[in-house]
Amino acid sequence: MTSPDAAPAAPGVALQIEGLRKSFGATEVLKGIDLSVATHEVVCLIGASGSGKSTLLRCTNLLEQIDSGRIVLFGEEITSDDIDENLVRRQVGIVFQSYNLFPHMNVLRNVTLAPIRALGTDKARAEDEARSLLERFGLADKETEYPDRLSGGQQQRVAIVRALAMHPRLMLLDEVTSALDPELVSEVLDVIRELATAGMTMVIATHEMGFARDIASRVCFLEDGYIVEQAPPAELFTAPKDERTQRFLRRIISAGRL
């Protein structure tokens, strides 16, 4: 991933996934996924637990090795053998359901570790950048705290800041509000809204249907390892075409989640 500018293919396409398959042992989790994400687009992945949303995100960040298919990121195929996965990951931020902050480091070090060690940013500059990011997301007074001392919402915001500190060109959010107490969900969603407004390209796996409807430029419904249906939220939530999507949304509605 030396010079993204030189990439000839498909201007405006951030992420292109073709025929992606992934199995864990005998279980095939992704059975041929095709997905294209334009720059500045916000794509939400919805679907029941186990439908493959998380695996899809983890494959995109090369945390899982794919079995077949290809992933093209800003014009470069990142699933070829000779790619440096560390260089890819520096461009793709991922935020996990369980925050995964480093518990032995305070907030500032959590945020600056990767810029210093992976990008070679000097410490003072990395800390300045980290502070301004923390301030932007209402965490200015937390920089010396350890993750143990923060609420779930604060931890998740720190995790988002930590990913942003690497200046990613694509953000992957993996059910980032699922582990939060209900009253803490909105503070994290507000952060994501702000990112969307700022033009960040994002792929978001979520169970928050209202949020997806609100923020997504496109919603993909996954079931059983396939993208069953994708459409702008207004369309998908009000007039789903596929019978499986309709069934899923009926269940969601009867559970009071939409």
């Binding site: 983890r58 560390n86 990951r89 305070n106 990767a114 350890y146 582990a179």
Partner: protein, 327 residues
């Protein structure tokens, strides 16, 4: 890893009354203070758990004090009233002999136990540094996944299996008597202490590598995922994210092994190195008084107890630092 944040506060709610009771058990102690002040602490560490289990308020303290006094009194009484008590006290606890054994007197054919412990200390320090490094290397190799390292993984596994299974004393004998007999020039001309330290290193590195491995396994996979997803290399993830957490988790176990190592330096005495227990043995066989063994035992205690307190200190400092929310 129950102290990884989100489990802590939830569990502590139910535990608060018992935590307060625990303060009576360690009045004024730093443990009592931090538990009372920060209930979130309860999820962490053996200290918190132990005090909770033992606590039963003021009445408990009174009972435990009484029973301790009764027990110690009974043991002392049995010792003093035993038919052979006077003879044992003379053979093992003679202040005169203790002092002589401590000082040593080469003209009378025995060495100073007090000076000999210095050899134990040097052997221990040399061995510990090498063990910490070698044990880590073996553990990391065994935990590696790449096919390139497969032969090394096999070698490490065999090494650990062999040296954990063979009694240390036999390793000391084999190295201490076998290597000199090989007449391999430089290699065969080392002092007994060098062979002894080598034997300690071989045996203990196998143990310590398993402790490290347990530590590495105790760090959740999601931490690896988080580190790698930020673009950190495998080495940097290990160095900055995995190892610091792993080592924090195993400090008590490591220190425990090192206390054991300090004692086991005594085994090098079988090669003729004049370390404390060997010097005590020589004193005993020269004077037919065993008080020298008590001196050696006391010296070993003086070495090991500070290490134990140091472990407690490290655990407490780490916990306070994270819970205080400051550097």
């Amino acid at each position: 890893m129950t102290w990884l944040g989100r489990h802590g506060p939830r569990r502590s709610k139910a535990d608060v009354p018992r935590e307060e009771a625990a303060q009576f058990l360690v009045p004024g102690g730093p443990l009592a203070g931090s538990i009372g002040g920060a209930p979130q602490a309860s999820g962490f560490g053996p200290l918190g758990r132990r005090s909770r289990l033992l606590s039963s308020g003021r009445r408990g303290v009174a009972i435990s004090t009484t029973s301790t006094v009764v027990f110690v009194g009974a043991v002392v009484a049995i010792f003093l009233l035993a038919p052979g008590s006077a003879a044992v006290r003379h053979s093992f606890l003679s202040p005169e002999h203790m002092w002589q054994a401590f000082l040593g007197n080469p003209s009378k054919g025995y060495y100073s136990v007090g000076a000999a412990i210095w050899l134990n200390i040097r052997m221990f320090l040399a061995a510990e540094v090498i063990i910490l490094i070698l044990g880590l290397v073996v553990a990391v190799v065994r935990q590696s996944v790449g096919p390139v390292l497969f032969p090394l993984r096999i070698v490490s596994t065999i090494y650990v299996d062999v040296f954990r299974g063979v009694p240390l004393l036999l390793v000391v004998y084999v190295l201490g008597f076998g290597v000199p007999a090989l007449s391999l020039g430089f290699l065969s001309k080392q002092s007994a202490a060098v062979y002894g330290v080598t034997a300690l290193v071989l045996s203990y590195s196998a143990y310590v590598s398993e402790v490290y491995r347990a530590g590495l396994n105790s760090v959740h996979q999601s931490q690896v995922a988080a580190a790698r997803s930020l673009g950190l290399s495998q080495w940097n993830s290990l160095r900055f994210v995995i190892l610091p957490q792993a080592i924090r988790n195993i400090v008590p176990a490591l220190l425990n092994d090192f206390i054991s190592l300090q004692k086991d330096t005594a085994l090098v005495g079988v090669l003729g190195a004049i370390e404390a227990s060997e010097a005590a043995q020589i004193y005993a066989s020269t004077t037919f008084n065993y008080s020298s063994f008590v001196v050696a035992a006391a010296l070993f205690l003086i070495l090991t107890i500070p290490l134990a307190r140091f472990t407690d200190h490290l655990i407490l400092r780490d916990r306070n630092r994270r819970l205080a929310g400051s550097k």
